[in-house]
Structures are given as C-alpha cells and as structure tokens.
C-alpha cells in the first residue's frame, strides 16, 4: 500500500535557508543542498524548495541550488515561489525540479494550472494554497498571507483539481506557526471534495500531530519546516513512531 509522506520544506532566500535552522553538526547549516542531503539521509520522502524572493539577483543562485541538489539527492523535488508562467515552469524543471508548485500565480490566472498540466502533465503541477477562516468560511489569501482574495478555498481546491492540478498543498494560516496541530477541520473538508492527494501544511508541533493528521484525515502527506529545522521533531524517529502506530510509512 501507498506510504504516507513526510516532507520538509526549505524556504530559500538569496541562496540560504531561512527560518531558524539548528543543525550544529552540519558544517554549513543554512546551505539548502547540505540540509536537503541531511533530510534525504533521514528518510524524507520528498523535498520542497521555496524560492522566497525570486528576485532577479536571487534566481541564478536558486537555479544553481536546484542543479546541485538534483545531482546528489534522488527523491522527488518540488519547487515553488513566484511561478507565474510556463517559462517559470520550464526554468525550474530544467534546473532539476520534478514538480512545480503554483500559488498566487494561479489565483491571478487560473489557466496557468491548465497550461502547466497540459504541457508537463498533472503529476507535475502542485496547487499550493494559503487558507484562513473568515466568518464561517475559508478564504484564499495571497501575498504572503496579507491579502484576502475572498475566494472560497473549498471551491478553489475543486477548481484546481478540475483544471489539472495533480496534488494540493493546503497551508492553514490559522494553525501555521502555532504548533498546536494541523488544521484537521479544513483538511477534512478539502479531502472530502477532491480525489487528488492532499498535502497538509501548517501547525505541526510534535510527532503526535502527524499521527492525528493521518488517523483523522485522508491527507497523503504532512509538510513542515521549522520543527524539522530546529530538530524539535526529527524525521527518522517521527516515521518510525508513525509506523509503530499503524501508519504505513517508508521506513
């Protein structure tokens, strides 16, 4: 049976990993390639690299990181951050990405999902969404969570699947950074509406949060950044803990 996935996310700015990285035994602790190698050796099932600024100056640095990563790490690599056109897909795929994550670019122009899926296949297109509760509903936010688009997140998830996204990353802004657990309610609502794999993001603080995620929702994967970088949760022991508790893991 298919294993549930544990995915560390590396936010990269100007060639370095941002967010408190706490790897004292890694010589170059904020080098994305070194950190990626460490996670690969720890049993990460996939890596997500997020290009934070994607400025003109940062782009060659970021492309170089992808190329170096793809030469040394042989697990799926998803890349996101400022993906606004098919040229952006092409750029990161040629540098070594296997999947491309679209977010606000797809909100601005939803046909980007269709175009990416048609040219590269649905397996290549990941729709990432930042979601926050507003009143009784869930809205899509953009610009790093500053702008409420007033788009209904549950409808957007369904539309994303229809347009050809192969996976969804659902990041709950309500639980992100709180470390009190994933947003089970939101994730359950989305999983019940789509048939593509849903990757949960935002809120993991301890290993029990991942167990709750996989026991109570159909999410295929749990994604986190800070808790892995800080080593509050380590991927190898986390996967063994989940496997011991009946979750099918690649261990």
């Amino acid at each position: 049976m298919l294993a549930k996935r544990i995915i560390p996310c590396l936010d990269v700015r100007d060639g370095r990993v941002v967010k408190g990285v706490n790897f004292k035994d890694l010589r170059d602790i904020d080098d994305p390639v070194a950190l990626g190698k460490f996670y690969n050796a720890s049993g990460a099932d996939e890596l997500v690299f997020y290009d934070i600024i994607a400025s003109a100056e940062g782009r060659p640095l970021f492309a170089d990181i992808l190329r170096r990563t793809a030469r040394e790490i042989f697990i799926p690599l998803t890349v996101g951050g400022s993906i606004n056109s098919l040229d952006d897909f092409d750029r990161v795929l040629k540098s070594g990405a296997d999947k491309v994550s679209v977010n606000s670019g797809a909100v601005r122009d939803p046909s980007l999902i269709d175009a990416g899926a048609e040219k590269y296949g649905s397996q290549c297109v990941v729709l990432s969404m930042d979601v926050k509760r507003v009143g009784t509903g869930f809205h899509i936010f953009v610009k790093g969570g500053r702008v409420d688009t007033e788009i209904d997140a549950l409808k957007w998830a369904v539309e994303g699947e229809k347009r050809g996204a192969g996976e969804l990353v659902v990041n709950s802004m309500d639980t992100d950074g709180v470390r009190g657990g994933f947003d089970i309610e939101l994730l359950g609502e989305i999983c019940s509406r789509v048939s593509i794999p849903v990757i949960a993001s935002g809120g993991a603080g301890k290993r029990e949060d991942f167990l709750e995620l996989f026991r109570t929702t159909d999410c295929q994967a749990g994604l986190a950044a800070g808790i892995f970088h800080s080593r509050e949760v380590e991927i190898g022991p986390l996967k063994r803990y989940l496997a011991e508790n009946g979750v099918n893991m690649r261990v």
Binding site: R71, E72, F74, G96, Q123
Partner: protein, 198 residues
C-alpha cells in the same frame, strides 16, 4: 557507456544525474547510430502513450530500440512503451518487446497512483539483486502494463489491486516506478542495470 534515449519525452537529466552519481558513464542522444553502439539503453518517458510513440517514431528511433540486443531499461512510460499495445487515449501499438497490454489501473483508490509504494518481487530479475522484498519505490502513473507471460513479471505492487511494477524479459527490462527518484533503493536498481551493461 549507457545511452539515454532522447526523443523529446521525459526527464532525462535526473536519470543521467543518478548514473553519474553512481560513477557510470552515460550520454543523452537522439542519434540512432550512437545509441545502437551503446552498452545499454535507457528509454525514459513522461506523458501519454500515443504521443510518446509518435515522438519515438518521428525521432526515427523505433528500429534502434526494438533491435537493441544489449540491456534495455524502460522507465515509467518508457516501460509501458515496451508492451504490444497501449489503451491510453486510444488503442495504440507499442514496441512489442514484452507481450501484453497497458491499461488504466482498475482500482477503487485515487488515480494517479502517486507516491512511495512497496515492491513484491517475483522471479529473479537481475534488476533486484540485493534489493529486499518490500522495498519502497516512487510511482507516478495511472496506466500500467499487464504482461501476458507471468514469467516476464519481475515485481508488482499493491494499490487496491495488483499493479505491475517491473518486467524483465531477456535483455529487456522495465520499471514502472522512477528508480532515479526512489532514494537508495532506486540507486541500487540502476546500479544493477548499469552493471549488466558493462
């Protein structure tokens, strides 16, 4: 030297990266003469079956791949093309190197079948020498081959139904999963293949 068949279809770079990482020489080419002279061939592939066959034909490489007598490895859609017939989009002839058809996976579970799944090894394919039964590899597909001859089946996986994961028939091998994205297990499988080509 291993030739990676470039017919405009598939992520050639990660296959080349993994062989280089393992210390094997390889080259990416669409030149039939060069590929025919290689010690082994890898046929990658991403996308839909008929489009890939058309591109392989347009590249003038069908004869080169079909007539290749040293080890050949099809990966993902490249494995599916080894079969006699594909049913994706429309019925379409494949390379016919492995008797059988490529059909939509008949499962209650979500398609595409995407993620890490475990292998049940069958027979004694040289691809899986030293690979423990139950090892996880990375799949991304909705269609899968059905081999007519059970002896051609090298590995299967369980996705609500039995799904063909690998074939070996003489010099012809196929991996439905992506060995170049399957961590240490995948590297071991590629190393086994590359050693057949030396």
């Amino acid at each position: 030297m291993i030739g990676i068949v470039d017919y405009g279809c598939g992520n050639l770079m990660s296959v080349a990266n993994s062989l280089e990482f393992l210390g094997f020489d390889c080259f990416v080419s669409s030149d039939a003469d060069k590929l025919s002279a290689a010690g082994g061939l890898i046929l990658p592939g991403v996308g839909a079956f008929p489009a890939a066959m058309e591109m392989l034909e347009a590249s003038g490489l069908v004869g080169c791949v079909k007539g290749f007598t040293r080890p050949l490895l099809g990966i993902c859609l490249g494995m599916q093309l080894l079969f006699s017939v594909g049913e994706e989009v429309r019925e379409c002839a494949g390379l016919g190197l492995v008797p059988g058809r490529v059909r939509l996976i008949d499962t209650e579970l979500k398609l595409p079948h995407i993620g890490w799944n475990s292998l049940s090894l069958r027979g004694a394919s040289p691809l899986f020498r030293g690979v423990p039964d139950g090892s996880f590899v990375y799949f991304v597909h909705s269609f899968a081959g059905a081999a007519e001859n059970p002896a051609d089946v090298a590995a299967v996986t369980d996705y609500g139904t039995e799904v063909l994961a690998s074939v070996s028939r003489g010099n012809v091998h196929g991996c439905q999963f992506h060995p170049e994205k399957s961590g240490d297990t995948g590297l071991k499988i590629l190393k086994n293949f590359a050693e057949l080509c030396v």
